[in-house]
């Protein structure tokens, strides 16, 4: 598989693990950790898929996704949301703001890989 994934996450060791498994599968992985500049980073890098953590420094993943869905260029961009909160209301919130898929931490590597392939593998 090949394609461009932007991973927006602030936990360094999670970033390292996900980058490793996606890179090994042939994906190009960029990373970003600051919520306040995440939307600009998506627009600048124009990835095929975004993996977006909910709890980020300075801005929530929900707010970032809302902005992405409001923009013509990123309205249909596949976004896989990751969160440590797996309550029903969190999932509903993710669906409401337009997440393509919602995954609760701790996730399995195989799940992440399968979701990325499915959402961006075209």
């Amino acid at each position: 598989m090949s394609g461009h994934v932007l991973l927006i996450e602030d936990e360094p060791n999670i970033i390292e693990a996900i980058r490793f498994i996606l890179s090994r599968d042939g994906w190009t992985v960029d990373t970003h950790s600051d919520g306040s500049t995440a939307v600009d980073e998506v627009l600048r890098r124009n990835p095929d898929l975004v993996i977006l953590d909910v709890m980020l420094p300075n801005r929530s993943g929900y707010d970032i996704l809302s902005d992405l869905r409001a923009s013509d260029t990123t309205r249909d961009l596949p976004v896989l949301m990751l969160t440590a909160r797996g309550q029903k209301k969190d999932k509903e919130m993710a669906e409401r703001v337009g997440a393509s898929r919602f995954m609760t931490k701790p996730f399995s590597n195989a799940e992440v890989l399968a979701s990325v392939r499915e959402l961006a593998g075209g």
Binding site: E11, N13, E16, A17, F20, P106
Partner: protein, 443 residues
């Protein structure tokens, strides 16, 4: 005086008084123009009684109406109605509440006590649930644990996944797992320490307002220490074994006592008693005499020492949202502990006209509605200057009137809360009463 417990209802009081005087039921009934059978029903709380007949019975029994009708019965009946409302049980025979309380006072008290206990447990559950959802420390700890577990899980899966991993990457991942395991241990210990410490607000089961009321009730709402010419700091009063249990309650009580001390400095007790002697319980004249604002005088009148020969007074204070932030109960006027109070109270009427005082005579529904004289005013404060928010507070002093007074004043009907108020046609009703079939709220 009647040798009766305070739980007794009017019928029971009538019966006990008659027996005290060694009078026959038939003789008392005849002197009041009713049949002995009807008096028997009254004495067993199976018939409501009020007005002229109660007056006739009081005369026949050589006592006053108040001695027959006052007491804790109103509170008990009100508590039972509140219990029925809380249970939302439509099968409860609400129209026989008074009879139940009169015939089975022990059971009625048990129902009341258990209803309160359920409310306490529900509040504890709500606090715990709220804590799990909103406590930032707990939320941050759990998030830390889950994030670290995720990192360890993802990294170890790479190492044990069966695919070849470059030795350099292997070393890197092993280092990451080690770091994360240390972080996990630290986060877990923090979490355990936090949960072990417990939350005093959960342990106490009381709101800060309830803690303050409990503390004040033990002193009859009069804090003698703060009445001295050189009053001690409030901190000194909050060190005993009866000090509020939670930090929130302590802060709430401390704020109240700080204001109490300032009020006492502005309107000293000795001078207040002299002014009351001279002017009577007229808040406006007292405010003039002390060059004080009206709310301060109302608060001072509500905390007179119990030994002073003054009429019983209650007080209610609300903020701009209408929430009762302080209440001193007084017999004859029910103040709800939880939920919204009756919007017809003068306390709320003055919120719309700040700085305009009101004097009203109001009466809550009941078998024998008790007229209460109220003085109310809302006063805004601009603690942060012109650009800050206007913080408004309304204060209402409540003086229940003597039911056997010779010159009863017409009173405006008000309620306690909509749920336990039987005034069906009230234009201010916001939800149906438990005493009627559900009706659409009226505009």
């Amino acid at each position: 005086m009647l040798a009766l417990s305070r739980q007794a209802l009017t019928g029971s009081r009538i019966r006990a008084r008659r027996l005290d005087l060694d009078l026959r039921q038939a003789d008392v009934a005849r002197s009041c123009g009713i049949s002995p059978a009807y008096l028997n029903l009254i004495e067993h709380n199976r018939r409501r009684i009020g007005g002229k007949l109660l007056g006739d019975l009081a005369r026949a029994l050589e006592t006053d109406i108040g001695a027959l009708s006052e007491g804790a019965e109103v509170a008990l009946v009100g508590a039972l109605r509140a219990a029925a409302d809380a249970a939302r049980d439509a099968s409860v025979e609400l129209d026989r509440t008074e009879e139940f309380a009169g015939r089975f006072p022990g059971w009625a008290a048990l129902v009341d006590e258990q209803s309160r206990r359920i409310a306490t447990l529900e509040r504890t559950a709500a606090i715990l649930s709220d804590r799990l959802s909103h406590d930032p420390d707990l939320s941050a700890s759990l998030h830390d644990v889950i994030t670290t577990v995720t990192a360890i899980n993802a990294t170890s899966s790479i190492l044990t996944g069966g695919e070849d991993v470059d030795p350099e990457w292997q070393a890197r991942f092993q280092r990451n797992i080690h770091e994360d395991s240390e972080r996990l241990a630290e986060a877990s210990q923090h979490l355990v320490r936090y949960l072990d410490a417990g939350d005093p607000s959960v342990q106490s089961n009381r709101t800060p307002q309830e803690e303050l009321e409990r503390w004040l009730a033990a002193r009859s709402f009069h804090v003698a220490e703060l009445e001295r010419a050189i009053a001690p700091d409030p901190e000194g009063l909050l060190k005993g074994s009866d000090a509020p249990a939670t930090p929130a309650a302590w802060a709430f009580t401390h704020a109240y006592l700080t204001r109490y001390r300032a009020d006492a400095e502005r309107v000293p007790l000795g001078a207040l008693l002299e002014a009351l002697e001279a002017f009577g319980p007229d808040p406006l004249r007292l405010a003039e005499a002390f060059r004080s604002d009206l709310p301060t005088v109302l608060r001072r009148m509500a905390c007179l020492p119990p030994e002073v020969d003054a009429p019983p007074m209650g007080i209610a204070v609300c903020d701009g949202s209408g929430s009762l932030v302080f209440r001193k109960p007084v017999e004859g006027f029910a103040l709800p502990r939880f939920g919204a109070a009756c919007p017809l109270w003068p306390l709320y009427q003055v919120l719309g006209r700040p700085m305009v005082p009101r004097r009203d005579v109001v009466a809550q529904p009941g078998r024998l509605p008790r007229a209460c004289l109220t003085y109310a005013i809302a006063q805004p404060a601009q603690a942060d200057g012109f650009d800050g928010p206007s913080i408004i507070e309304a204060t209402m002093l409540i003086l229940p009137q003597d039911p056997s007074g010779s010159d009863p004043q017409p009173s405006q009907p008000v309620g306690t809360t909509c749920r336990v108020c039987p005034r069906r046609t009230c234009r201010a009703r916001s939800e149906p009463s438990i005493f009627e079939d559900p009706v659409a709220p009226q505009a």
